[in-house]
């Protein structure tokens, strides 16, 4: 078996992606564009025209009107912004924005519903808001990471203002039925936000098809630059700025626009609209190759995530008896980059909250790795991974107290 190290193999696209060459070029040119979009002179007008053109590009990619799309500093900021709207009482607010929308009817609805498998930027914010008195309720997920619509109906009491459900999970790739959730949520007079950071640019996303009121996205997950995201806000929904004190983004976010990032994001989105469909077919085939290859070469593997409703780019797999950080680092030595749900790699002591929420036991969560593919992933790269991974797992299991004689476990202490 040849284990010579070819080039590096990047299989962590859910963490971030390399810049698309077209984005790199766009941004290199955009560096000359220094004007403040708020200035009335020629420098400003040129910047403004470019930012608004970019807004149109990004908005139309998700089926939105550009008036309803605001740029943010990240997907995390977009998510924080939405949650903060609903924790604000608005009663004692002197900024004049408050959280009263044109419809104005959600004022007494302060409760937030979210799921147990959200990105930390939603979960941490929810915990913070709960500490400040905002009631927060959590949707459970099944063993595949899907929420239950019956539970959603039960939780949707009259005090619920916002429901926040991620569209595609970053760790296991499971897709939620957002349009069905939106229907339920609206029936009960609440609003739906979806964190679509891992979905936009991988599968078709349309705000009207989904029926969402808020949608978050990020540039760096789709071959755009870091430090820029976007938030769709349906007209008529309540809004309160998260960053206050400026008229930018129609008064929804203070701060001079990140022209360079915004132009890069727009170019990234444009390239997605050209490349996404073909790539989806290609990635499906690569996923087949990867999953079959792992199944046929390694004993006792467990794939995490939904068997049908998933983002094909993401494969999450557990190797009982092997610990994830070790797997990650042995692969890293061979030039292959993946991520893990193991606690050891995260700096915390708890393994992946997503896997635990699906009922996966802690040991299987510690032994999980996430392989996330992208536009630059090739058949050869997956072939190389399939060559390197089986001996790595064999090696780790060979020295493990938790893997004896094939498929039994040592007594835990």
């Amino acid at each position: 078996m040849s284990t010579e190290k070819p080039e590096t193999v990047y299989l962590d696209h859910n963490a971030t992606t390399p810049l698309h060459p077209a984005v790199k070029q766009e941004m290199t040119e955009a560096m000359e564009l220094f004007g403040n979009p708020s200035s009335m002179h020629g420098f400003g007008r040129e910047a403004r025209a470019n930012v608004e053109h970019a807004r149109k590009t990004v908005a139309s990619f998700i089926g939105a009107d550009s008036a309803n799309l605001m740029f943010t500093g990240s997907g995390s900021e977009a998510n924080n912004t939405v949650l903060s709207i609903f924790s604000c009482s608005g009663d004692s607010c002197s900024t004049g924005s408050g959280r009263t929308g044109e419809k104005g009817e959600t004022n007494n609805r302060k409760t937030i519903i979210t799921t147990r498998i959200e990105h930390p930027c939603v979960l941490e914010t929810s915990r913070c808001l709960a500490g400040q008195g905002t009631p927060v309720k959590y949707l459970d997920v099944d063993r595949y990471g899907k929420i239950n619509m019956d539970q959603l109906s039960e939780l949707l009491t009259d005090d619920v203002g916002l429901v926040s459900i991620m569209m595609a999970n970053n760790e296991i790739g499971t897709l939620q039925d957002i349009s069905e959730a939106a229907r339920l949520v609206h029936e009960h007079g609440a609003l739906l936000h979806t964190d679509a950071v891992q979905a936009v640019g991988k599968i078709p996303v349309d705000v009207d098809d989904l029926g969402v009121d808020f949608l978050s996205m990020s540039a760096h997950k789709i071959y755009g630059p870091k430090g820029v995201g976007a938030l769709y806000v349906r007209p008529g929904t309540p809004f309160c700025p998260f960053v206050r004190g400026g008229h930018q983004e129609q008064g929804r976010r203070a701060g001079t626009e990140n022209t360079l990032g915004i132009l890069g994001m727009a170019r990234a989105v444009q390239m997605r609209s050209e490349e996404m469909e073909d790539e989806l077919h290609r990635i499906r085939a690569l996923r087949e190759q990867l999953v079959r290859g792992i199944e046929s070469s390694i004993d006792d593997v467990v794939f995490n995530g939904h068997p049908e409703d998933y983002i094909p780019h993401t494969v999450n797999v557990s190797f009982p008896g092997a610990e994830g950080e070790s797997i990650l680092l042995y692969l890293d030595m061979a030039g292959i980059a993946v991520s893990t749900g193991s606690a050891c790699a995260s700096g915390s002591l708890d393994p992946s909250h997503v896997l635990l929420a699906t009922g996966t036991d802690a040991e299987r969560a510690h032994g999980s790795i996430r392989i996330s593919m992208g536009r630059d992933t090739t058949e050869e790269q997956i072939g190389y991974l399939l060559e390197v991974l089986p001996p790595v797992i064999r090696k780790i299991r060979g020295m493990s107290t938790a893997y004896i004689g094939g498929n039994t476990y040592a007594q835990t202490g």
Partner: protein
């Protein structure tokens, strides 16, 4: 732009991770004179140490191991297995996590707790040797002392919390719930907190 590609770990650790020494290749420990196992799978690390002892000299002549865990767990057991060969049982029993960490060329602070199971498992193996050889009086068990009567928290749990990152009394309470009822143990637990921080994290 920095081209920083160093590992977070030392070269020694990397070497022991890539080429672990003295792995127990089989699942059979019957040929050894003492066997000890510590940790559990749910927490993400478990270590088993098996020793061969020269009974006359009370010297460890061989040490094999198995570890379920991260790179620092694997490397620290590997380095420990080399350190103890030729050591007397008494000297080996007194090895501390700090000795192992030093031999490894240091560990990031959040990884210290991954490396403390090896010496624990070694002590368990040495005790096991004494038990097997009818020397129960030589078995040195570390008896846990209950510090917080209300929440039943021991000094061992305070030590574990420190290894897991607790540095203040509030953090200790977060980890252990210590002193959250009557609060009478605060003085003693703060003293233990200081002691364990000093023991594990002060050069």
């Amino acid at each position: 732009m920095l081209k920083q590609v160093n590992w977070v770990y030392s070269d020694t650790l990397k070497d022991h991770f890539m080429n672990p020494r003295n792995i127990l290749e089989t699942d059979d420990t019957s040929g050894f004179d003492g066997v000890g196992m510590e940790g559990n799978l749910a927490c993400g690390d478990q270590m088993m140490v098996a020793i061969t002892v020269n009974a006359e000299k009370e010297v460890i002549t061989d040490c094999k191991w198995k570890t379920y865990g991260c790179a620092s767990a694997i490397a620290s057991t590997s380095v420990l297995s080399e350190m103890v060969k030729g050591m007397t049982l008494e000297a080996a029993f007194d090895l501390s996590p700090k000795d192992v960490t030093a031999e490894l060329g240091g560990l990031p602070e959040n990884k210290i707790h991954c490396s403390v199971l090896g010496d624990k498992a070694l002590r368990a193996a040495i005790n096991n040797y004494f038990e097997r050889n009818n020397m129960p009086e030589r078995v040195r068990k570390e008896k846990a002392k209950i510090v917080c009567q209300c929440m039943n928290v021991t000094d061992h749990e305070i030590e574990d919390a420190v290894l897991e990152g607790a540095r203040s009394y509030a953090e200790l309470q977060e980890h252990t719930k210590i002193g959250t009822v009557c609060g009478q143990c605060r003085f003693e637990s703060e003293a233990l907190l200081e002691k364990y921080i000093h023991l594990h994290f002060t050069e």
